[in-house]
Point group: D3
Chain length 130, copies 6
């Protein structure tokens, strides 16, 4: 465990402003522990939240697809906190059990073939290398 | 570079059967170098192809979404061959420049927040841990 | 959990010699669990301790800078034990809260841009490639 | 190789504004290929540059220490582009040959002990777990 | 924690068929939690089991050697579940304490020299590049 | 590319002593590029060589098994130099084409199941957790 989370009641105005934006943007009653830890560094808290908000906003990809990609990367990296929080976020965005199973299968398979490509030292096909 | 790729003209019947299935399934004239290297081990070639075919078939997720996830994981892992081949595959499945940009942004952001969560040793919120 | 740690009272002379050197070098009353586990393999215990002692000794870089680098790599790799132990070691060497925040921010940002460079397949600038 | 870099002469106003800020902040005549690739996604270009600028500005840690940490993480992750560019950046910030050797030694040792801690499943010492 | 494991008494016929094959192939009374979780996706359960069974069968390498390699990779990746389960599997296949120590030492050393090779940007010797 | 390799004719006595020990221990006419790069830091060169020599010496595991494990970890980590050099070393120690195929298959499969275990958040079986 790291330090104790920074709670709303003890947050500085700079932290509160971010917490409030997270709560209103996500329509939640409280922020999750990730933000309560980053609150120890208000500059990183603000930059990270604004970056996440920008990256995860609907764009060429819809919010569910974005969450599935975020989850796949977190699973591949083995970050226990991120797997838990982004599984929850993806479910909230509409991920079904069947979708979860397929994201895991793809993540597993990509990790396998990534190593086969490494180990066999496969030269990049000219058709791909542009 | 690894060994020279196994070409169609020199492939064993077991390898040819897989090559032919790849070519007809993907409607391509030739298989890419990854398969020509795995051909050195026909058992791994067959298992890997059949696994990839099963995992990447349309299901709860459409083929484009599946390719985007595969690409994100390959980028996160830094596999140069896989990044090149799956960028090409994703483009063929419909990935636009805007989608590519968003997949990269999510992959980068997930890698960043995964480390922030690690370093701050964020405890998993009870609401996530089910 | 792995096996139970090897305690001072039950250590062989070869293990004791290393434990004693750790305790006197670091001016601590007991060695931490990492060494009590490596004690199951006295050859690895001795080699690892002597290597760590050599690498972390003051040199062109001061001990605090060295600990910050060690922590950043451990966070990037997601090793929970190492994050806990090297956070403590860095604090003991003088890491302030502000420094901790900056090390985390850099580690996160490096992980993000590493993936952006991978995914965009950025060619190395001739000016760098020497 | 990815797409051809976006050069100054063909950049949009949004991209030019970032390029100009990089050039004046770093006192360089041209931006390196990383930014010329990110220019394909001006939103990511701007966010990434502003984040890097904020994170790498002098603070509790000096610019050289920050570059050494960035380099160590990039080496640990095996990002060839990032290793080349951040080796150059660290040298520019004052990294000597001796410092380079020590950063590499620490990065290597941390990767080794991270795996020993994983494999021996070392329990976190109560003294660290706060 | 993820979802509750799928137990034998509540498994579908497709899942039961895999569970029974695992139990008879491995001569165990119950399957371990990994399979009880994959049971949420019977297609992935079946493909993964059949792939593992094929890959881990005696071949040019004996079962113990195969388990040692599986363990080394799992330790290198920092997967806590996999380290625990493959340590147990390797012990069952004959891994002694001395062998365990050597696998850990090699895994640690490879992780160290992998980073030294990255950081020093060592060019591949012509003699190796075939 | 990094700096130019340190050749025998320009090496310091401290470097020469290590080069000579590598050549006589391995019965080779020249050292490979990895050592010629580490020669920029004679302390790291000596420590790394002595550590590798100790770890890879015959023990409870034979030299071929040790090389297979080293190769598997290097492939899993995606270190191009290390994959090339340790494929060559393993072949010299007796690795056949069939063994190579099996090492790759295990490395790929371990990477896949490591991620499935991460993503499904599989709780460690009590029987394993000792």
């Amino acid at each position: 465990m790291g330090r104790k989370p920074v709670e709303y009641s003890e947050a500085s105005p700079a932290v509160l402003a971010v917490f409030d934006d997270i709560k209103s943007s996500r329509k939640v009653d409280d922020v999750n522990n990730f933000w309560k830890q980053l609150a120890y560094d208000p500059v990183t808290l603000k930059r990270t939240w604004e970056s996440v908000k920008e990256v995860m906003a609907p764009g060429a990809l819809d919010p569910l697809t974005k969450e599935l990609i975020y989850l796949a990367v977190s699973v591949s990296n083995g970050c226990a906190y991120c797997i838990a929080s982004h599984t929850a976020a993806a479910r909230k965005a509409g991920m079904t059990d069947a979708m979860f199973g397929e994201v895991m299968a793809i993540t597993g398979m990509a990790n396998e073939t990534n190593r086969l490509a490494n180990g066999y030292r496969v030269p990049i096909d000219p058709a791909f290398d542009r």
